[in-house]
């Protein structure tokens, strides 16, 4: 799995290498790797560190810190439910339970077969039309439980 991407990783590292004496920006490198490969497997940390001339710990530290950096590939479609205060006050919890019942997975899990990954978001700034559900790149406001099947159905294909 990792070997298949070998060339790409080296290419990404090369494209992120700053002109000396500037130091490499580890976060941006990891985001670029994730952009190219879908995730940053922990097993890649030593090669990234070596490629950048920093320690393994520096890379692993950044990788584990940021919630957006993934060490495993998510499902083909990421479903997010906002759990900000406005969405919660407007019964986002009920919508979450409906999604869980519909997809039969819990928050943080991916469906067997990899169709959907369910995640929690913390405020996407859509509070005035909350609760909010994001499916892939589409954002839905004022979502009710009864809308969930029709929101998720097109993505099942």
């Amino acid at each position: 799995m990792i070997e298949r991407h070998t060339q790409t990783l080296e290419e990404v590292l090369e494209s992120c290498r700053p002109a000396p004496p500037a130091k490499p920006n580890i976060l941006r490198v990891l985001l670029a790797v994730q952009g190219a490969l879908g995730c940053v497997p922990v097993a890649m940390v030593p090669r990234i560190a070596q490629g950048l001339g920093v320690t393994d710990a520096q890379v692993a530290g950044v990788l584990s810190y940021y919630p957006d950096l993934r060490t495993e590939s998510p499902g083909r479609c990421i479903v997010q439910i906002c759990m900000g205060e406005s969405c919660t006050a407007n019964h986002g919890g009920r919508v979450l339970r409906t999604i869980q019942d519909h997809l039969l997975i819990d928050v943080g899990e991916t469906m067997p077969g990899g169709r959907f990954t369910l995640e929690r978001a913390y405020c996407v700034g859509n509070c005035a039309v909350s609760p909010t559900v994001i499916v892939g790149e589409d954002l839905y406001g004022r979502v009710t439980s009864s809308q969930i099947p029709s929101i998720l159905e097109p993505m099942k294909k």
């Binding site: 130091k23 490499p24 920006n25 580890i26 976060l27 941006r28 490198v29 985001l31 520096q58 530290g61 950044v62 810190y65 940021y66 919630p67 957006d68 950096l69 900000g84 205060e85 406005s86 969405c87 919660t88 006050a89 407007n90 019964h91 978001a121 913390y122 405020c123 996407v124 700034g125 859509n126 509070c127 005035a128 039309v129 909350s130 909010t132 790149e137 954002l139 839905y140 406001g141 004022r142």
Partner: protein
Amino acid sequence: MKTTRLYLANDTSARAAGAGRLADAWKERPEVQLVRTSARGAFYLEPIVEQDSPRGRLAWFNVSPNDLPRIESGLDGTLVDSIPFLRQQTRYTFANFGVTEPLALDAYQSQGGFKGLAAALNMSSAAVIEEIKISRLRGRGGAAFPVWSKWQVAQQTEADEKYVVVNADEGDAGTYCDRMIMEGDPFRLIEGMLICAHAIGATKGYLYCRHEYPAAAATMRTAIRKAMEEGLLDLNGASFEIEVVIGAGSYVCGEETALLESLEGRRGVVRAKPPYPAMSGLYGRPTIVSNVLTFATIPNILARGGAWHASLGTERSRGTIVLQVGGRVKQPGLVEIPFGRTLRQVLEQFGGGMAPGSRFKAVQVGGPLGSLFPDSKLDIPICYDAFSDAGAILGHGGIVVYDQDTDMVELSRHFMAFTADESCGKCTPCRVGAVRGREILERIQAGQGSANDFALLHDLGDTMKAASLCALGGRAPYPVLTAIEHFPRDFQTKLPAFGRQQ
């Protein structure tokens, strides 16, 4: 064929409310010319469709695709200027919202855009900073620090490079005014950055935008490119470069020093202050970090004068405050008014009362670290001093109303769990304190708490307030302790002893 020009917002929330569906449905109609503007901020009415009339813009609310014939006839529209939610506001920073196309540079200029920059470029650095001092503008991101003071320190500190950094990591739940500015009036933000760069002698600008705001980042990138092509970024003989950098999901990166660490590519861990970023910030250089709204307030101050800004608001809170009223209210939306009106007035005048089926229980002001207010405390004036005296914060202007269905124990647990999740780990009171706080609240929730747990939470809260490095740990106890103070019954009924006492 007669064509009808219709205005429809392209803001993320307007689209989520159905504006995108309207645009799709009507794009094949040859007689409809759609102009995609910024949003009015009256989100409870979205999707809103507007049309010109001799009396001003007419609006139709909560529009569905089938409403087109009705709108084209122009018959039953409402004059935008007569909508109470908008008429009762004092819009300066948000004056263009709903009016112009966000990326139309000529429209921004025809509304007075870049006049502030032109005024600043005719002044010395010191004179610009003096104007900001006269305006008495305080940072709008939460800390409310006097803006001129930071600028003066950065201006007076010698360095080979200086930076202007926009904090667009608007992480407080219930807030979205920074997102609206970036999506809806991007040149205003760029103008504010340029005035700051001119005042302190900065060579480069960064916009650190959270990844949850893809449309805002895309709009800003296009606006920066357009401004550059028009030569608007040429500052004192050199080109001021602005780079958009996307964050990676860490709430604490909205704290200025954590943000700088993240910009440099490291873990977003808070730095001990001093030195303050104005003296030693990004890569150890003098750096002004302010949020989007603060920079967007600057152009008007330079165009109209600092005294104009100081004439608005209350003694120590000058200018306007941008509130985002939400939760279980009838009319969620964005409100710009001078400081000084009470929280109750805002909830009634703008919030329009409670949503159908809801009764008021509590309101939280200032995001997940903000204090909770019960009905009896709503007559507090909205200004920095009154809130500070009450142990509360205005934060970034987020207002979330909770109804009778809200369980304060669960809400408190949510806040402590949030801090535990988001703590950067640098200081012990926050890193360990938030976990202990969450555990105590989980114990109470599970019916295994004791009266002693409240003393423990207070004790823990005192430590976190006094000894945390930044506002995340320092403010985290407030929502929990105000929930216990104002809604003790929610907690007491969960204690095992409660059943026996009855």
